[in-house]
Symmetry: C2
Subunit: 386 residues, 2 copies
């Protein structure tokens, strides 16, 4: 993509509204903008990171045998009365009455909706086990929204649900999900802890939390999995016929990831004084091409040529073709944190060498034009290692 056609509004100053480092950097790098407290827009760069995170989650969920679906954000309050969580969830759930007089709510979570779906479609043990998941926008009436996308009123979650005929099946699926979660967070370059936790309002006996320690002390929980057992299936009457023809409640597990919150968690762990340092797999672009002076035709041409070459090789790159001073470009480059920079300056024509700079450690490499793609692919290979 060409920077001059893009909507990447970077900021020099640290916005006053932002308390945490990740919140500051997400605003400064043009990833998000606030509409009102706890309500954010994802700008193009932020959405690219979000898409990369979602792709990793989808790949690992699908290889664990889970199937993706999409449940509605609108739910009936009646469903929550049937599960008994109507009062328990409290005022955090947004409720309203529609013009037809229906009492509706915006789902902060989807155990009730998925159990209702299972109740109407799972009849026999032959249909089990089953893991269903979705990536979806959730809503919370958050009284104190904080830290940008971390504690927001509107946020994106991945929620998965397993259905089994016995505890052995649940144990198997629970471990399958636990393994998938560890692969997911590793691929995102995160250092994380897996902790046994209290199931709380979700119910069930066993649960694990995935915590990402942050330097700022605001450790930014990114996943939580629960052995729910029969709490929801008994309340809503989701039963199956076992192999002896006896009706039994389906045994459930549920598995959540805070998708939008992960962006903040990654930044908390991966930044320096100058800005974000994107881990390879989530980076919005892999390469940033910086012609130092675009009014110099030789430099502009060289940059455009390299950009075309990388596009052909399917290496996602951003070309900073803005007519800005070199200092501004370098500062923005550090801020938005693309893993690899290609700097086209006067040197590129003096000795025929092209300068590559790795954002992570600012290490500089030189290569000739001919071997540029090969060199980039070699750096890519090293960087992609989790």
């Amino acid at each position: 993509m060409l920077w001059s056609n893009s909507f990447i509004p970077t900021l020099r100053e640290v916005p006053a509204e932002a308390e945490s480092v990740s919140h500051q950097l997400m605003l400064r790098a043009g990833l998000i903008r606030m509409l009102s407290a706890g309500i954010y827009s994802y700008l193009p760069l932020g959405l690219r990171v979000l898409d990369n995170i979602e792709n990793i989650i989808q790949q690992e969920m699908n290889s664990a045998g889970a199937q993706e679906l999409l449940l509605p954000a609108l739910q009936t309050q009646e469903l929550w009365q049937r599960s008994g969580r109507d009062k328990e969830i409290g005022e955090v759930m947004i409720r309203f009455t529609d013009r037809r007089g229906r009492k509706l709510c915006l789902g902060p979570t989807h155990e009730e909706v998925i159990t209702e779906l299972a109740r109407t479609h799972i009849r026999s043990y032959k249909q089990l086990p089953l893991i269903l998941y979705q990536i979806q926008t959730k809503f919370r009436d958050e009284i104190r929204p904080r830290f940008g996308v971390v504690r927001a009123c509107e946020f994106i979650m991945k929620d998965a649900y397993s259905f089994d005929k016995d505890d052995k099946g649940l144990d198997k699926n629970y471990n399958l999900m636990l393994g998938a979660y560890q692969r997911i967070f590793k691929r995102m370059g995160l250092k994380f802890l897996t902790i046994e936790a209290d199931p709380g309002v979700m119910g069930g006996k066993v649960s694990h939390e995935f915590m990402v320690p942050a330097k700022s002390g605001e450790d930014l929980e990114v996943g939580h999995i629960f052995k729910l057992g029969t709490k929801y299936t008994e309340a809503l009457g989701a039963r199956f016929l076992d192999d002896k023809g006896k009706l039994q409640p389906i045994i459930m597990g549920c598995y959540g990831i805070g998708v939008s919150r992960l962006i903040a968690a990654i930044i908390e762990q991966s930044h320096d004084e100058e800005g974000i340092i994107w881990p390879w797999e989530v980076a919005p672009f892999k390469v940033l091409i910086i012609p130092v002076d675009v009014t110099d035709k030789k430099m502009a041409n060289e940059a455009a040529k390299i950009y075309a070459r990388l596009s052909k090789e399917n290496i996602e790159s951003l070309l900073d073709d803005r007519d800005e001073r070199a200092g501004v470009k370098f500062k923005d480059a550090e801020l938005i944190g693309i893993p690899l920079e290609i700097i086209i300056g006067k040197e590129a024509f003096k000795n025929g060498k092209i300068e590559l700079k790795r954002r992570r450690d600012k290490k500089v490499f030189f290569t000739d034009r001919k071997n540029l793609v090969k060199k980039i692919k070699q750096v890519m290979k090293d960087e992609a290692k989790p």
Copy 2:
């Protein structure tokens, strides 16, 4: 994917709740399920179609130079008061007051939010032109939800917005979008009409509707584009400095596609007595492999081998490995409408020929094992032609 592990709950009977053919077939083929009137879940097969539709839209939007972002569903009512549409939009907009006392609403459309974003970030003619778009869930308090996903309370839209410094720029972007829309609908296999229309509540002078005629008479508007002019930018004060240093209101266009509604439109135009006939690009799987009797080890093995071969070639296929009667499998195959079927029956072993059946016209082809992939790719190539 293996059918036995999948959540594809097909129905024999026509559901009483469904009025239109597309609504009936979406329920019967296991694409959607209703939670409450106008509120639907997309099951795995339905979500795959939705993803394919979204991919086509994203490809065509990106090649027209538009950039994707994601705006919040939650909006402040205050923003609608400033644009003057607060009363005009009426009761169809869902409104509520949160615990902080903020008056919020669920966006049925996003002109206000995007104009506010432009107001705070566009300062100079140098930042123009700009086209931004999103694919997002919208909400309407629909008093009479009908035809399944066609008139629903929660639905998915693609909404794009162009920003220009003059009318000439707007004309150019408008035509760019018009061309992109025509490519999008063509790739989805739709016969459609482009009609000059009344801009209505959206405002502006010029608008075009994209209509998909349906046999049932419920023609299921899939796109609408508007030259908005300065209606929103003047109301919200979104201005830029022109090349003479004079403040001018930004000139806008907006461009909508009913994404979830498109599934119904496609089915209305592409079905027969037995079920759905998916056009190639939107089909949830391209090939359906049907071993006639999975208790016959030779057949099951042959089917599994072909499935593995197609997976290796990145041809998305569904293997109907269920222990069901051949009649049930064939009926389900016609119903869910995968473009190409591979039937593994006794004939496959008698004369070494494999039977391919094209869903569209039920035409049968035979091929030997060796040339199977080649033959499929040839059929694919023909089918993919819009």
